[in-house]
């Protein structure tokens, strides 16, 4: 069952001589429990695609259908509510609130949605234990390593049981070991907990954890490769074909 369907998605910035086409008629479908990596050179439109799918930006044309509703036509309030209940976000720089504890950070989307504090706290703690931070529930972000902070961000993204998790270079600020752990966690989220994951990355090793890699260049999808039994080799070959290696 498709969780998100992107049809003819186009985003143009500027006007006149300064016009830049960031996305050019992109089509993409992501199913439930699927982990999709998006790769491409800088400026190819990966993050723009993620922002449009996440309702953080409005497309110039085309549709982003989530549960058969085009989010481009929704009001700001409706999109905000959709993000709160149906989507999860993981950012490159973790973006945790420095003055809140690990548990409070993970519980934020629930708190924002008006869930009772005790319930929000319980659910956040469950997810933190699932991502391996059961012993860091009361820590502040500055008391955690980068990898641990990103685990909190993943728990925060999953705490509302969203259909879709969007991760924008979630390993870009981590060492290789932590990066690998986060990629595995996202894969677990897709395979074990049934979430659809869309992850933007530059790192082929990280991308090889996904089920599928979408390659982009100049705002368009140039390849869409399902990874097989040897995902690392498949990923490398696909990158060579796309001219990224």
């Amino acid at each position: 069952m498709p969780i998100v369907e992107v049809r003819g998605l186009t985003k143009i910035y500027g006007s006149g001589d300064t016009i830049v086409t960031a996305l050019d008629h992109v089509d993409l479908t992501v199913e439930q429990g699927e982990f999709v990596a998006v790769m491409g050179p800088s400026g190819c439109g990966k993050s723009t695609l993620l922002n449009l799918v996440g309702g953080l930006d409005k497309p110039t044309s085309g549709q982003v259908l989530i549960a058969d509703t085009d989010i481009a036509t929704m009001t700001d309030r409706s999109v905000t509510e959709l993000r709160r209940r149906r989507l999860g976000f993981v950012f490159q720089f973790f973006n945790l609130i420095p003055v809140l504890t690990t548990a409070e950070n993970a519980a934020l989307p629930l708190t924002l949605d008006g869930v009772k504090p005790a319930e929000a706290n319980d659910r956040a703690r469950d997810w933190l234990r699932k991502v391996g931070l059961g012993d860091k529930l009361e820590s502040r972000p500055d008391q955690l390593s980068g990898g641990q902070q990103q685990r909190v961000a993943v728990a925060r993204a999953l705490v509302t049981d969203p259909a879709l998790v969007l991760a924008d270079e979630p390993t870009g600020n981590l060492d290789s070991k932590s990066a690998d752990e986060i990629a595995n966690l996202l894969k677990q989220a897709a395979e074990e907990w049934g979430r659809a994951i869309v992850m933007v990355t530059h790192d082929v090793t990280i991308a090889s954890h996904a089920h599928r890699i979408v390659f982009m260049r100049d705002g368009a999808v140039v390849d869409d490769v399902a990874l097989g039994a040897d995902p690392a080799a498949d990923a490398r070959h696909a990158m060579e074909r796309a001219g990224l290696l």
Binding site: T80, E81, V99, L112, A157
Partner: protein, 838 residues
Amino acid sequence: MNVSATLAWRYLIGRPGRTALTTLAITLGVALIFGLNGMMPGLADVFTKTLFSAAGQVDLTVSSPSAGNFETSIADKVAGLPGVSVATPSLRRSAGMPNSSAVSVITIVGIDPRSAQKVRSFNLAAGRMLSDGDAGQVVIGSDTATTLGLHVGSSLKIPTVAGTESFTVAGLLANGSSPSAPEVYVTLPDAQRMIGAGGLINTVEARLASGADRSVVEAAARRRLGSDYTVGGLSNESTLLASVQTANYMFTFFGVFALIMGGFIILNTFRTLVAERRHDIGMLRAIGADRGTILGIFLTQSVIQGVLGTVVGIAAGYLLTLVALSWYQPMLKNIMHINATISPSYSAGTWVAAIALGVGVTVLSAVIPARQAARMTPLEALRPQAAEVEERQRSRWVIVGWVTLTASILMLFSKQISLVMLGAAATLMGLVLVAPALIQPLSYALSFVLRPFAPATADLSSSNVTRQPGRAAATASAILVSLAVVVAVLGVVTSLYAGFFDYINKSLGSDFVFIPNGLILGGANVGADESFVQRIADTPGMGAVATLRLGQAEIGKSQVQVVGIDPVDYPKVASFTYSKGTKTSDIAKLGQGRTMLVNGITSGQQGLAVGKKVALQTPNGLKDYTVVGVATDYLNAKLSTVYISQENLQKDFNVTSNVLVLANAKPGAPKPAVKAALGRLVANYPQFVLYDSATFKATQTALFSQTFVVFDFLIGMFALPTLLALLNTLAISVLARTREIGMLRAVGTTRGQVRGMVVAEALLLAAVGVAFGIAGGIALGYALVYALNSSMYVMPYYFPWGGIVVAVVAGFSFALLASILPARTAAKLDIVTALHYE
């Protein structure tokens, strides 16, 4: 607690330094409003008790609206009114005691013992009450006796117009006395002799018959006595109470100014918070926080900070009240002879003003940044902040600012008091509005000064200041208001100082001054009769002698002080400060019928010009006086005063005693010897203090310095926000440019150059603020002096050079001080960390 409140609270406690800094801005304003106004009810209460001490226990009081003396027969008229069971005459006058006495001033109360005891209750603790025919006997309160170490049978020396007289303490009263000037009861004939008011009284007190309607009796008394008498109590339209009210307004005015400065600082603080929490805002919006939640976080924080700042401000204000009162009370004792304990007391209005302004200003200042934060899209907030973006030029507001400034100049020169005051406010508002547009050219021009010393950092710091004109303008505005008040207050102080010393030289510039034991003439002190003056004149080596006498009158319903001078003698030893159109020779006109000179306050309040005829309410009825000039002397500069001849004062006000004597030594006479002889003479008149001109000026200089401590304190309080504003802005500036500083360090900028850049930025911001502050301060100072000139004190306007110097020194010193911490932070930044800072 909802998410907005939780986050707001956590952010506050997570950044204690920032929280303290911002809270301090609110605290300052609230402390000023609350603290200074906390003295007022206590002061007013003491003044009221002093004024009304005679009216406390009786059913009906009759006095002269002018507080002057009148015939004893009025008591008989009151006694004959239907509903009045008994009436008693009395004569009250305060008298300065010798400096060695434990009580600095007493109130001599002459009573008719028999009738007085039927009207008032005199509870004796020891001895006996006065009886008819007693002479040289006094009855005093037990508390006063304890203070003075007296008992029944002791001797008490009391000043009289004919010198000090000894009285025997006949009895001690159990009831307490007036806190400021304890009553000393003597028989009426004794009092009339002591005060020099033979056959006269100044109060009639009455007890009503059982069942009599007080309002009916009062109405009957008014009909019987006419408008020449006040029935029902003493006037509460006291000059002192009016001064308390004026001080109340002034303190609130200063407090509001302090809060406006605080507002600018808070505005910048919340701008910083929004910039700092940009990514937090982006993340929150991305994960589903709506705009209301973001707005709520910042507004909740502002409410918490406003409440916190207000609570701390109220506590600080209470301490301020205690400190101010501990400083004021000796002043009241020494200068006004009010010896009372004043406790902090706060009116409902003071509470409301402090709380509403403290919380209100904080929330209002946070609204703009909070709305900006809420309007940010998640994507805008999440994007790396590559460089600070030039803020929108608010050109429309800048045009309004220029128009306001132009109008303000016209208003300042309009010579209409209300327009002049409006002009000063408009100047400040105009400067605030045009500040964003002037930041760039001013900063660029000022960077030329820095360029020879540090070419690279001068350009960088100039561009740093101008890239955020809104933030720089808010900082400059806070400095502007802060330093404008400093310049204005110092301008007013300079003008007051110079103006009053001009008065002293003219009106008290004689070789010797016999001045009441206290500076202010008001309060109907016991003076001295002609024999005292004659003895001064007869002292070997003595030249011209002139005296001042004192009465009270009403013009309309306003009280005025009436000073009696001898038009021939007075110009020989003193002169007035004359307003335009009046000259020395006009004094001679006081000898021609009922004529008077009026001082600046009276002229302003009553609209009196030369040639105008006005009715003075005297103890002997309404008398028409013609204004022959506008002039002011030193002692009466602060009080509404008219000057008439001593002949008219005696005729219309029944006053013959002298309350001030001015004397010149003969040319060549040995002044020390003359002074020694005069000193022996004045020893028997403790209500007077003898000064030679040099000592008197030195005493007054010391008094002024003591009085102006309050201004020094205000100046300090107002200069402080400059430091806070600069510290805040520089901290923001360094924080927002962390990556840029990392880049500069990476390409070879030394730590010293980075430090220099921040210091230079501080100096440029301060320079702009100082320039605006001086411009605003000159306008505000001019308006304040103009207002004082029009309504109270006549004084020349002095350009506030001193204030300008203080503003420049304070502005740049604070800039250097404020830049220490941010400059060190910037210089110590780790290059790699800074380059990765988001």
